[in-house]
């Protein structure tokens, strides 16, 4: 519109600044400005600090890649990699599976189903600190603890969920799945709502089994929803922190130590800001790589 009214002379030079080109940036300005000042600037500064021994009052001291080599060769960080991958992968896949099952179970229009859905969604709206506090009580390691009491009714002995290094990571994973599954459920439910009903009808006429119907009708139709769930999982799977911090603090014997709890200890207990920054930068790079990969496969899958 603007371009047509503009004089022909110099139109080319001015088109770059024409209203149509500037307008989107006006709308984007607040978001980009806030992100720049409060996200990217600190991130840049964090990358910068990762090359220093940080001592605000004595002057930072350039150490080059020392922080990185220190972090990457620290055996506790190396152990944390395994835990992070296992926990990140386990909680993501578990939450997707449980979320999918819940969605299949709770799909429908009935009022009672809506109530059940609302109730099941509760863990998502609860602060992680609260959830952690609750699960520490649920996991209470004697037969008086709620879960152990339940196990007792089934004739199973009390389990030291959090104090046993063989079970602590799994116990943490169960809590994470519990927190994340309802979130995924809602996204998958949304995907299910978009499935063309006539396909189900046609499938019924062809006399296919329930399993085939799920496999060949439902799954392809909810691919986009699953794609979203996967992307979110990639973004937050590896930066798992609060869940572990509030539940076990990384213990016992470091058996639930993940990358971020280690970085946190480095930064806030040992006052090693440079090392903590280096660890965080490593994590950020890996997350970025993972997200790009997931998105690449998503796009490729969709194009097919």
């Amino acid at each position: 519109m603007t371009a047509t009214t503009a004089p022909v002379r110099g139109a080319r030079a001015r088109s770059a600044f024409s209203k149509r080109n500037v307008l989107p940036w006006v709308f984007l300005a607040p978001g980009l400005l806030l992100a720049l000042v409060f996200k990217f600037l600190p991130m840049g500064k964090g990358v910068w600090l990762s090359f220093f021994k940080v001592r605000p009052f004595l002057g930072d001291h350039w150490v080059g890649l020392d922080n990185y080599t220190r972090v990457l060769t620290d055996h506790r960080f190396q152990e944390a990699i395994g835990h992070t991958l296992l926990l990140g992968l386990g909680q993501s896949l578990g939450a997707i599976a449980v979320g999918f099952a819940l969605a299949l179970l709770l799909e429908g229009q009935a009022r009672s189903l809506k109530i059940v859905r609302t109730a099941v969604f509760l863990p998502v709206v609860t602060a992680t600190a609260v959830v952690g506090e609750m699960w520490r009580l649920l996991y209470y390691p004697t037969s008086d603890g709620l879960i152990n009491h339940g196990l007792g009714l089934l004739g199973l002995g009390p389990t030291q969920f959090l104090d046993n290094p063989d079970t602590a990571l799994w116990a943490t994973m169960v809590m994470s799945v519990w927190m994340l599954a309802p979130y995924n459920m809602v996204i998958i439910l949304a995907g299910l709502a978009g499935v063309d009903r006539t396909l189900y009808e046609a499938a019924a006429m062809d006399g296919v089994s329930l399993w085939q119907r799920l496999r060949y009708v439902t799954l392809p139709a909810i691919r986009p929803a699953l794609g979203i769930v996967l992307t979110l999982a990639a973004i937050r799977g590896l930066r798992v922190f609060t869940e572990v911090y509030v539940l076990t603090g990384g213990g016992p014997a470091g058996s639930t130590e993940v990358w971020m709890t280690r970085a946190y200890t480095l930064g806030f207990t040992r006052n090693d800001i440079g090392g903590a920054s280096a660890a965080s930068v490593v994590l950020l790079c890996v997350t970025l790589l993972l997200t790009v990969t997931v998105n690449y496969f998503r796009k490729r899958g969709d194009a097919r």
Binding site: L23, P30, P56, F57, G249, P252, G254, F268, T269
Partner: protein
């Protein structure tokens, strides 16, 4: 059409945004007014609300006496907050916090040097106590304020019901713990009690804090000073192996797990509340808990005794609080006046009495006696433990990484019952050597 109007709207938006920033500026401006005032000191302590009330009383008395105002902040997550403030080079003027943190703060350059002669009445603090605030460079970086030593809290009513004596040795303590766990000391017919409370998590170094007393009692140390002003790790000594093995075998890796409270390996002091909840019989801990236990259990239900002796005596971990001056705050005179008041008999007495929890436990002022001022003989036990049988963590080096690594190692050794204690401690020794080397203190 509408082009001009459209172009005005973004301008209006920007104006609004600018206004918001301006409002924010006003908000912060009025907030920080106090810190610029030369006659106001910002003081931080690591305190919960109850002890904070005591501090408030003390500072009010100081302001009344000197006219210097105190902007007092009880900060609970002290070190996170301090990191954040340090990054903007805006430290509080005066901080009162753990003795063991001095080396850490000093190594970051957060503290002012202190000359004991500048503190009026500083000569009433004895030389041994002053010596604990000397940094690695030989200067003082803190002023002693309060001292304490760990003591053993025992459920007196339980012990008497079972007809057992106060424990004098590790073996006595173990026997008592087993009886508390197995012989139904509360008489309710259910097996729901535990021998002793252990905050055994590695988080924030709790396992090292609790375990230190047992290392001392076994004749072991974590690091020790060398003749040429450095330090060396000594945690793989035979004495250390013996002590840790004893703890592991008798407390953590027992057949029925009831000697210590369930969940001990992930317990921090915040959730190791079994003693005050009334289902555990013993707790080796600091005397500040006396007030909490008085309230939760009742004065008559528990007793405070010196820790039982191990193979090398009954030394316990001693610690306490120092007064620190934040670097570059430029109110030295006022800070010194506050410090002088805080260590004076009047200041110390105020902090030891009153309704809320005492913030001075064992006075550093040698003219005062703990049991008399607290008017409670139990504090005499604490004072005796502190004076006769206690060892502090070395305060001069940055002890934070050393404590954390020690806690990590102890927690791991206690967790894996099949592990080799000697190998675990050897590994810790190597790690600590690395920590000391990072600080250029390894000799």
């Amino acid at each position: 059409m509408g082009d001009r109007r459209r172009s005005r709207r973004p301008a209006a938006t920007l104006a609004v945004a600018g206004l918001l920033f301006a409002t924010a500026a006003c908000g912060s401006g009025s907030d920080s007014a106090g810190s610029g005032d030369p006659n106001t000191l910002e003081v931080w302590t690591r305190s919960n609300p109850d002890p904070a009330a005591t501090y408030e009383r003390v500072f009010a008395a100081f302001t009344k006496k000197t006219g210097i105002k105190i902007d007092y902040q009880p900060v609970i997550n002290f070190d996170q907050q301090l990191q954040s403030r340090a990054s903007t080079k805006d430290l509080p003027d005066v901080m009162i916090n753990d003795t063991a943190l001095m080396g850490s703060y000093q190594s970051q350059g957060l503290l002012k040097r202190i000359d004991p002669a500048d503190i009026a009445g500083g000569d009433q603090i004895d030389a041994k106590t002053w010596a604990s605030t000397v940094g690695t460079d030989g200067s003082h970086y803190g002023i002693p304020y309060s001292r304490q030593a760990m003591t053993l809290m025992i459920r007196k009513d339980w012990r008497e019901r079972l007809g057992l004596p106060q424990p004098r040795t590790w073996q006595d303590m173990l026997t008592l713990a087993k009886a508390f766990a197995g012989d139904d000391p509360d008489g309710d017919g259910r097996k729901n009690t535990y021998g002793m409370v252990v905050p055994g998590s590695a988080q924030n170094g709790y396992a090292a804090w609790w375990g230190a007393s047992f290392l001392w009692q076994g004749g072991a140390r974590i690091i020790e000073p060398t003749k040429d002003g450095g330090y060396r790790p000594v945690v793989d000594s035979a004495a250390a192996v013996r002590s840790v093995s004893w703890l592991k075998k008798n407390l953590f890796c027992t057949s029925d797990n009831a000697v210590i409270q369930p969940g001990a390996l992930t317990a921090i002091t915040g959730n190791a509340t079994n003693f005050q909840d009334g289902n555990a019989g013993m707790y080796l801990t600091g005397p500040y808990n006396i007030a909490t236990f008085d309230q939760a259990l009742g004065k008559d239900k528990f007793e405070v005794v010196q820790a039982p002796a191990g193979p090398a005596g009954n030394d316990v971990l001693a610690d306490g609080e120092n007064i620190y001056f934040g670097a570059r705050t430029g109110k030295t005179e006022q800070e010194q006046a506050l410090a002088a008041f805080l260590v004076s008999p009047e200041g110390q007495r105020l902090a030891m009495t009153g309704k809320s929890q005492p913030v001075v436990r064992i006075p550093v002022n040698s003219t005062l006696d703990a049991a008399t001022v607290h008017s409670d003989p139990r504090w005499g036990v604490v004072q005796k433990a502190y004076e006769d049988a206690s060892v502090q963590f070395p305060n001069a080096p940055d002890f934070a990484p050393i404590k954390q690594d020690t806690a990590d190692a102890l927690n791991a050794i206690f967790t894996y019952c099949g592990s080799d204690v000697r190998a675990g401690l050897k590994e810790l020794d190597d790690t600590l050597a690395g920590d000391l080397k990072d600080q250029d203190l390894l000799k």
